[in-house]
Symmetry: C2
């Protein structure tokens, strides 16, 4: 493939590409707002039109009980790999509108960035793929890969209709690799590949004693206090080295190679910046691991909420009848949520006292996801980034989950490459969302090169 | 004094006394109900009339910003001790009315009990004192003591105007001993004197880290979790023997004599009954003490409420920015609330970690109160009870506080004798409140004998 011509083409069409993206950014496709149903449909149709205009075929809106999914493909390379691209056309709400410097649905270039709701998350990144298609089709005429596109309109409200669609349309979506551009690079002009996500095991632990709150004058000191029991249990879930004490919790944690830890270590990081971003008093976590390692390659256990007894203003002298903690564990490969939840329950039952009743509810879980950094698809993405950015990409993971990643992996049996062009501070869920323009244009180039690399040409 | 004649007199007037009490019980003096202002005044006037009718002098309604206080006296024994009697004419709300077997303001005798709101708490017990006065005046003609009466109409809503009145009318209320009949006997026909109350030191402990809740995917494992810190602190407030670990917490706890512990030990007690009353899974508390000792003679520390982070239904993956616990300590003589609060704060600050911010708010406190069981006034009450009930009284304490006890002790410098004729299961704050009739009539006899004993005749 003639990369210089490709790059030239993208550089020459900047104004045009921005104008086209702008027309989609003007649509108020806020999925959380029930009054915006019409805008959702209008946006799905605008995305469809943009797909057709660059030459993507079989474009179709698939109705769901919520907002439609947009599908399209271009399959003219038999025997070649098939790439499935996922993105979403819905956006976050814009409140508080008063904090926006320019209106959220009037795309505005200021300095090096394009400001608009959805510019980074995810209309801008979705659009990168359409323009990469257009560039390649214009420059090369044909493709070394087959391409499929699936864009949803409910990512910001939980993607509830995506998973059933993927499962019931496994043939339609069948692919050798899934590419998602909905994450952030580690920093400006720092090409990044995210290759791992943590999973989740979420439980609710309730300690009960009496049927009703008791007067602490009449009973204080002579009955077990459920808050004391719950606090004791929580305090026994970590040791003094920040490790989770649930027996066998770490048994299935896959060894992380020295290469990966070196990759993490070479990332720019400063405590000061981490504290600025988090607002925390100090970095704190498992002994022997750096902040990024704690976030990405180590499983954790956190209380997400706690409540019991009197929680109003002032003083009320009761012994609470019960106390509840929401407790979740972030999992890493190769932990399995069901096993971890079982281990947690066994441990809690083992340390529960005979003076109260302990109840456990399993609320929610998801498996960790990883695409090994030496996987051919990841290597292709790495080569594409290096080609465009002129530097070897950084390999990162994320501490959170992207549930659809796992759904794609499990339902289609395909690896997922997270090739994000956003930035961590682009306010994707806050006022003044913006997209770094260089990443937008270099993203278009990178995706086109990626198709080329996956095609092995 | 001619006790047989006194007892005969009371027995011969049962119907009359009950009818008179009934007319006061019919008045709906619910102090918590703002629509009942007229009933409050009507009740204060009915109490005044009842006082005048038995011969109490200088009866007067003292207006407050709330409900009036009723005062009266009979001071014709110069050089003799003065007894101040306290009671209250307001009652608890009656909801849910549908659960009353007979209407709350239609006094009804069923079996051995009189059913009506206020029968036990405290109109019935207040009335005991008026009838004792009448009996003594009728039988003896004169009194070996001087008598003062103060009855309030806001006990069920916090006695907010009582303390300022006591402090500003210390001369009017000056007495050698204060008698309060507003507590319960340990059981039916078990004469009881309550000689101690626990105090209270109430604090609010907040642990903070970030300014806002953090996404546990982005930060979980790399920042301190305030709930973990709070749980750790709470878990370190008791040792494995149920003792409070705050250094010097027990330093000022007065030694309880063997006699007192023997008194407590001879009280009927069963775990089964305690568990029925409390609904607790098991008796539990400080090692080496019985349930009653844990409730009465030992200080305690309890979390009254806890909250932080996500407390709704389902799952939310956050690291809470802060967590708060309401923590109170029940104090016993000679602990001082200010010192205990200081000790608590020092300990919490000492064990607080460097990874979060700990804030402490002192909310509320009250001192423990005690009238030594060998105090002459207590001995007189004991002798009076034995005279009437034919058995040595039980000496008990209460695990809660009665703030006015301390106010009387501090403002008047007089010991308080808690001579209650109620019963723990008389539903004083619930539907179907009732008063055991034998205690009503024997109460009248006991109070008359008490005046005689205090007068030393």
């Amino acid at each position: 493939m003639d990369y210089p011509r490709l790059f030239e083409f993208v550089e020459s069409r900047k104004e045009e590409f921005l104008a086209e993206l702008g027309s989609i950014l003007r649509i108020q496709s806020v999925s959380a707002d029930p009054t915006k149903k019409g805008e959702m449909l209008r946006c799905a149709e605008a995305v469809s039109a943009a797909m057709r205009s660059v030459g993507i075929e079989n474009v179709k809106l698939h109705e769901t009980e919520g907002n439609p999914l947009v599908y399209g493909d271009y399959q003219h390379s038999p025997g070649r790999p098939t790439v499935l691209v996922y993105g979403h056309y819905d956006v976050q709400p814009v409140d508080p509108v008063s904090e926006w410097e320019t209106p959220p649905f009037e795309p505005t270039v200021r300095g090096s960035d394009l400001y608009a709701r959805g510019s980074s998350d995810d209309k801008g990144q979705l659009f990168i793929h359409l323009k990469a298609f257009q560039a390649m089709k214009t420059i090369e005429g044909d493709f070394p890969v087959n391409l499929k596109y699936i864009f949803e309109g409910e990512e910001e409200i939980g993607s509830v209709h995506l998973e059933p669609f993927i499962r019931s349309h496994a043939d339609l979506l069948k692919a050798d690799v899934v590419v998602i551009s909905d994450t952030a690079m580690y920093g400006r002009d720092m090409p990044t590949i995210c290759y791992g996500l943590r999973g989740m095991a979420y439980t609710e632990l309730t300690v009960r004693n009496a049927q009703v709150d008791l007067h602490s004058g009449s009973f204080g000191g002579a009955v077990e206090n459920p808050v004391h029991v719950l606090a004791d249990i929580i305090s026994r879930l970590h040791d003094r080295y920040g490790r989770v004490t649930v027996p066998h919790f770490y048994d299935d944690v896959a060894q992380v190679s020295d290469v990966e830890r070196e990759e993490i270590a070479r990332l720019p990081y400063s405590d000061a910046e981490f504290l600025r971003q988090s607002g925390a008093v100090a970095p704190f976590g498992e002994y022997g691991y750096s902040t990024n390692e704690r976030l990405w390659i180590r499983p954790t256990l956190d209380v997400n909420g706690i409540f019991g007894g009197f929680t109003g203003e002032g003083a009320k002298t009761i012994i609470p009848s019960k106390a509840t903690a929401k407790i979740s564990m972030r999992l890493v490969p190769d932990q399995k949520s069901t096993r971890v939840l079982d281990l947690f329950e066994s441990f809690v039952r083992e340390i529960a006292p005979p003076t109260a009743i302990v109840e456990l509810k399993k609320l929610h879980s998801g498996e960790p996801a990883i695409t090994p950094i030496d996987h051919p698809a990841v290597r292709a993405a790495s080569a594409a980034l290096e080609q465009v950015f002129g530097a070897k990409p950084y390999f990162i993971r994320e501490g959170g989950s992207i549930p659809e990643v796992l759904t794609f992996q499990e339902s289609l049996g395909a690896p997922v490459v997270l090739l994000g062009f956003g930035l961590p501070d682009e306010n994707s869920h806050a006022p003044n969302e913006h997209l770094y323009l260089r990443h937008f244009f270099d993203g278009i180039k990178t995706v086109a090169v990626l198709y080329d690399k996956i095609g092995g040409k």
